[in-house]
């Protein structure tokens, strides 16, 4: 009898303990790589090899996490342990390093893997393993496919998104538009054209009056430019890489073509495109941008720039203040910080994905009006951009933000 009573007491005690334990667990749900004091975040970035220039992104992200660890004690009391590995922009290496992060280092998620081929190499793996592949650093469209790849999300506007935004710009700002398109004959070029066509919808065929493509191996695009001008278009939509963009600008002026010049962000570069084409020739070209131009002296006195600069001086003193990569890293790291903040103490992989798909965020180095917004069916965080015009020296915002929604 006595032993029986003891036994039932023990059972009751164990049950009570168990309940306490489960209720504690209900408050704090942790996925792999999370403890009461830390969160492990994985990353692959090319620190060596042909794409090593992008390493500034990985370094500025690491610097930003240093900053919040030091100044705020991490996120919700948990220090961020950022493990960033070199993949040399080689897809097999990315696969190896990502598997190391997931299986050996046990990270909660992989953040900002850089490059389209490199992320493609782990796309299926991450989704099979159900590990978040968050805010990948590439402009391809395939990263926003929640139905088939619910564990993967991009960040920057995709080429298709930008194409749509150009469509929005044309419809809002050009009277009776007739568009001529020059595009590179590959996925990148076609994505831009698809985006524009999607936005124009039924009217696409009547608005787009000419389309010419070129191959990366072509020496010039002069004949395409002449055909495009002859179509009588009043908008020229340039989807080409820097070398061809510079040629297009020169030819555009040579032909005295009186049209609105829209330039894709791939070649929206003063050094690589506008200088070789002639700064005077490049005046008036319109492109789209989503974050502040950190080389523009007119923003040097603004609060956001000062904050960013203070961050750079203290946590990333070797960083290049004129590189857009450092601003990019600063902004994308804040996006992840917000996701982790929202997830609170429920840091499972499922909940991280849920919060990543539940963002409505404004960051201060973004151009005013450009928001980061996601939903369970919308895995494209940035879908608004600001039209900017090149004035021969710098970019000047014109008009208002265009948005897909």
């Amino acid at each position: 009898m006595n032993t029986g009573r003891k036994l039932s007491l023990t059972i009751a005690a164990v049950a009570a303990l168990g309940m306490v334990a489960t209720s504690a667990l209900a408050d704090k749900m942790y996925g792999p790589g999370v403890t009461d004091t830390s969160i492990k975040i994985g990353n692959t970035n090319p620190y060596s090899g042909p794409a090593a220039a992008y390493s500034a992104i990985g370094k500025s992200i690491a610097a930003y996490f240093d900053k919040i660890n030091k100044e705020n004690g991490g996120v919700n009391g948990r220090m961020i342990e950022f493990i960033s590995l070199d993949d040399g922009y080689s897809p097999p290496k990315t696969k190896e390093q990502t598997r190391k992060l997931v299986e050996q280092d046990n990270v909660l998620l992989v953040f900002q893997g850089l490059g389209t081929p490199t992320n493609s190499a782990v796309h299926n793996y991450m989704n099979q393993k159900k590990v978040p592949q968050l805010f990948v650093a590439t402009g391809a469209t395939k990263w926003g496919d929640p139905e088939n790849y619910p564990w993967t999300m991009g960040w920057q506007p995709s080429y298709q998104t930008e194409g749509k935004l150009f469509g929005a710009y044309i419809m809002e700002n050009v009277k009776d538009p007739k568009v001529a398109i020059l595009y590179q004959n590959d996925d990148y070029g076609k994505d831009y054209v698809t985006g524009l066509r999607d936005y124009l919808g039924d009217k696409a065929d009547s608005i787009i009056v000419a389309e010419e493509s070129y191959e990366v191996t072509d020496p010039t695009i002069n004949s395409q430019m002449i055909k495009l001008k002859d179509s009588g278009a009043n908008v020229f939509y340039n989807v080409s890489t820097p070398k061809f963009a510079a040629q297009a600008i020169k030819k555009f002026r040579e032909l005295n073509w009186d049209a609105v010049f829209l330039n894709n962000s791939v070649s929206n570069s003063v050094g690589a495109v506008y200088k070789p084409a002639g700064l005077d020739n490049s005046k008036g070209i319109i492109s789209l941008q989503y974050f502040q131009d950190n080389t523009d002296p007119s923003i040097f006195d603004t609060e956001p720039y000062k904050k960013w600069k203070a961050f750079m001086t203290e946590y990333y003193p070797d960083g290049d203040l004129s590189s857009s990569f450092t601003v990019y890293g600063y902004l994308v790291a804040q996006t992840l910080e917000q996701v982790l903040k929202q997830a609170g103490d429920n840091l499972t992989r499922e909940n991280v994905m849920k919060e990543a798909a539940n963002l409505d965020l404004e960051l201060d180095m973004m151009l005013p009006g450009v928001k980061i917004q996601t939903s369970p069916t919308d895995f494209f965080p940035i879908e608004a951009m600001m039209p900017i015009e090149f004035d021969g020296e710098k970019f000047v915002p014109i008009g208002k933000v265009v948005s897909v929604n």
Binding site: S48, P50, L85, G88, S90, K95, K100, P117, S120, N124
Partner: protein, 331 residues
């Protein structure tokens, strides 16, 4: 008198060396147990090491045993990988079949490349193969082939699930497949080297004029060796495509050729099983260097490489052979 000379000759020169059964048996047992002791990631790394070992052995047949230099083996690796990927992606072929097909396609490519390259000796051949190595990634990206190769975006390769009757994970299964293929390839290489053909290959390396005057058809042997070497590398490439489940032009840069070359030298030219050390070296040492310092990983890799070459002038295989001789002397 003549018979006298023949009896005194080292039998290894006429019938070839025998496989050291005990050592190979031990190696197979260890290799077979390992996947159960290691986790998925380590199995994956082990699989990659074996794949690299096969490719390095292919390069070694060409350089170590036949004296021809190649800086373009990444091209054959790519051809093997893309053959497998295209057959699986576009034509739904079973992945297992694509491995030998990748090898055969590379054999033909290697043989055909070997024919004109025969006129080039030593450094000139190295340059010609270098050109091949740097051209292939660009050709794969070319828009004319984009429908086939997927262009810059590459192709996904889907592996079928592990058959239900096997109590293995995907990583373990492919570890065993790579292990099996590697053993077969090593066995073939062993038989090739210890045969008339192998002796002809080495004779061409050591003294081409003497070999020709002995009646060895140097040009045929050289292009055949080139083909066999490409065959090995193609098999490795096809398996790499399947194990990594993805191919893209950026996977097969000229740097891969250099890595294979490093693996060959570190493992030991003139050695078959040294290739395993070579594979181990090129996979693990860059990771190790990165752990010491991310920013200086290549510098550290370089220092390690110089040390290894300084300490082991004939590779790991050479060191092991030296130790064996010394120990035998002591006993």
């Amino acid at each position: 008198m003549a018979t006298d000379v023949e009896t005194r000759a080292d039998p290894r020169l006429t019938v070839g060396a025998k496989i050291p059964i005990k050592l190979v048996g031990l190696f197979i047992i260890i290799g077979a147990i390992l996947p159960f002791l290691l986790g998925g990631y380590a199995n994956f790394q082990g699989t990659l090491i074996m794949i690299y070992a096969i490719a390095i052995l292919g390069l070694n047949l060409l350089t170590g045993f036949n004296g021809q230099f190649s800086l373009g083996h990444s091209a054959f690796y790519a051809v093997g990988a893309y053959t497998a990927a295209i057959l699986v992606y576009h034509l739904d072929w079973p992945v297992y079949v694509t491995i030998p097909v990748g090898g055969v396609v590379c054999f033909i490519a290697g043989f055909l490349f070997g024919l004109p390259a025969l006129r080039l000796e030593g450094l000139y051949l190295a340059l010609a193969t270098f050109a091949l190595g740097v051209a292939v990634p660009q050709i794969l990206k070319s828009s004319h082939l984009e429908g086939l190769t997927g262009g810059v975006q590459g192709l996904d390769v889907f592996r079928p699930p592990v058959p239900e009757f096997l109590p293995l994970t995907m990583d373990q299964l492919w570890y065993y497949i790579a292990f099996g293929v590697m053993l077969i390839m090593f066995w073939i290489a062993w038989n090739l080297i210890n045969s008339r053909t192998g002796r002809a290959m080495m004779a061409i390396r050591d003294n081409p004029i003497a070999a020709k005057s002995m009646g060895v058809n140097a040009s045929l042997y050289k292009s055949l060796t080139f083909g066999v070497s490409a065959f090995y590398t193609g098999i490795a490439g096809a398996m790499a495509a399947i194990v990594i489940e993805f191919v893209a032009p950026d996977s097969f840069t000229f740097q891969l050729s250099i890595l294979l070359f490093i693996g060959m030298v570190v493992g030991g030219t003139n050695s078959i099983w040294g290739a395993i050390f070579g594979g181990f070296f090129i996979l693990t040492v860059p990771n190790f260097a990165e752990e010491i310092s991310t920013g200086l990983s290549y510098a550290i890799f370089g220092v390690i490489l110089i040390l290894v070459i300084y300490v082991l002038p004939s590779g790991v295989a050479g060191l092991v052979n030296l130790l064996r001789v010394r120990i035998r002397k002591l006993l």
